[in-house]
Subunit: 321 residues, 2 copies
Amino acid sequence: MHIAITGAAGFLGQRLVHQLLERGELNGQAIRQLTLIDQAEPPAIEREGVELRCLALDISEPGALEPLLEARPDVIYHLAAVVSSAAEADLDLGMRVNFDATRALLEGCRAHGLSGTRLVMASSVAAYGGELPEVLDDMTALHPQNSYGAQKAMGELLVNDYSRRGLVDGLVLRLPTIVIRPGRPNAAASSFASSILREPLNGEQAICPVPTELELFVMSPARVVEALVHGAEVPASALGDFRAFMLPGLTVSVAEMLDTLREVAGESALARVRHEPDARIEAIVGSWPARFSNERARQLGFRSDRNFGDIVQAFLSEVSR
Amino acid sequence: MHIAITGAAGFLGQRLVHQLLERGELNGQAIRQLTLIDQAEPPAIEREGVELRCLALDISEPGALEPLLEARPDVIYHLAAVVSSAAEADLDLGMRVNFDATRALLEGCRAHGLSGTRLVMASSVAAYGGELPEVLDDMTALHPQNSYGAQKAMGELLVNDYSRRGLVDGLVLRLPTIVIRPGRPNAAASSFASSILREPLNGEQAICPVPTELELFVMSPARVVEALVHGAEVPASALGDFRAFMLPGLTVSVAEMLDTLREVAGESALARVRHEPDARIEAIVGSWPARFSNERARQLGFRSDRNFGDIVQAFLSEVSR
Ligand SMILES: NC(=O)c1ccc[n+]([C@@H]2O[C@H](COP(=O)([O-])OP(=O)(O)OC[C@H]3O[C@@H](n4cnc5c(N)ncnc54)[C@H](O)[C@@H]3O)[C@@H](O)[C@H]2O)c1
Ligand SMILES: NC(=O)c1ccc[n+]([C@@H]2O[C@H](COP(=O)([O-])OP(=O)(O)OC[C@H]3O[C@@H](n4cnc5c(N)ncnc54)[C@H](O)[C@@H]3O)[C@@H](O)[C@H]2O)c1
């Protein structure tokens, strides 16, 4: 089993690499080869019996993906992406990385005859947008209101068409908002969703920029990685005629998140969250859908976190390790 | 008012040109300039006071659209396309013409600062596909099951994103099956839908390859052209956050079409239709949705044909002219 990962040095990429090495197998086959790709060379994690290649390359450069494709991986995880704020700030960059490189990867699979290779691409809840129904389902149209979401949605259509034509065996997973991300706050509009838990749990102050009624659709990092692994194992025969769907997240309000914080870490932790409304952030995050009926994903065996308490506990046990 | 049309030598392009010249104005402004583009030079139709440019060029060639863009048209109709069977047979050709050229057009509008230019693009019912609800609406997802539909859907996302960013003032109209097309049968899977009326009305034999229960979502050529004209006149302020929707066609079964044929032209005409089931055609056409709730389009003032009798009468009065 040879697995290639683009964006392997990123947040999810690194977790996926560790998870794969821990498992040692994918789809019942021992993992023998890992090809890790990112702009900067992904860190090497030596493991006996696993041939590791760590490549620093810009996947949006012409021909950049050749080393990956020539090695004919059984599974490709396509995680490299320019995230939403950057893609909104620089249309060309977003198009090049989020769309053109995805297309080049698909074309590469076609050129190399990798029709049996399972390509798992990460898409986003940001592909949804505009006026939406109360509860979204697998037939809800994608009307993205940001360039990142548009580029992901275009990539989805391509993965689907190339899969339908038998040129690759593709699957696109739309990820919910990932909570709790470890590390520091970042420029993402959703950064607060991790901050308001992570910082207080670490004894630090955090700012909540949105009303507590606001609902989010969230998934823990561990469940996302589990879904990526499962995405390589779902048999092609079980996939229908559209290979892109939303993963089953958990619908949770900011109030419930803060309740959980208090339950887990007490009033003092809760008191570290200052409420400072930020209309800009509320506008962006408030436009993301928070309620889904994820039939396709659940039928295919993808699972949500059980409850928000579990998400917080998982974070705590991770940081204490 | 300067109007540019790609695919101007095509079926709809030619009708649109004639309609525009007949009107003499668009959106309350006299038409002073027409730029017509197609692979072969579109026929010149001289009209006093209208400066006409007919250009033979392949819009998928780099820089091909410069002459059009430099002239800074107020309205661009983007009709040039590789149709479904050809795009399915040649993925590269379809991608190049249906998607890359659309992108180049949008990039050109951006580069030339044509933010106020109304771009009206023709998309297709073929962008829908897969398992669909009984009645589709503006929130039904696009899960195209052919490369043509996928390419159109990708183009839609781009038009929407460039419009959202204020780089152009775009609008995409998904066209129903056009009935009755004049001329000869062609390779399109939907060709029979015109044939089973046109040929008998002309005293010729026709083959009906599908069961008479099959429903189609149809629009007359005249109504489609009316919609294209209206598409240039709908104010940007009335367009929502997704500028792509299905035009209001008419839902009609093959049985109703044949009933209308008998009413209009008698039993002898009906007898000219031979029923020869063709599983391939049934599979393709049967997968196209036939029932829509077209709220967005109707609110914006787009109209359907009143009934199927009108469609047939319009064809008859046209051919007798
Ligand atoms: N909720 C969501 O919608 C959501 C959340 C998280 C992730 N995602 C998606 O999951 C994937 C992984 O996300 P993440 O959180 O790990 O993000 P991340 O930013 O940590 O990782 C992305 C990686 O891609 C790399 N990359 C970017 N451009 C590249 C290029 N041109 N060539 C090579 N590498 C390049 C970056 O260096 C980075 O390491 C992305 O595709 C992202 O869009 C979606
Ligand atoms: N029901 C439907 O879904 C439906 C029906 C009709 C038309 N449409 C769409 O409406 C538009 C017009 O359709 P039509 O029926 O007039 O088709 P058509 O084939 O008669 O016209 C298309 C024109 O585009 C031109 N063209 C193709 N490639 C070109 C290139 N590379 N450079 C320049 N010109 C090029 C062709 O020469 C042709 O004249 C198309 O975009 C089509 O996809 C959709």
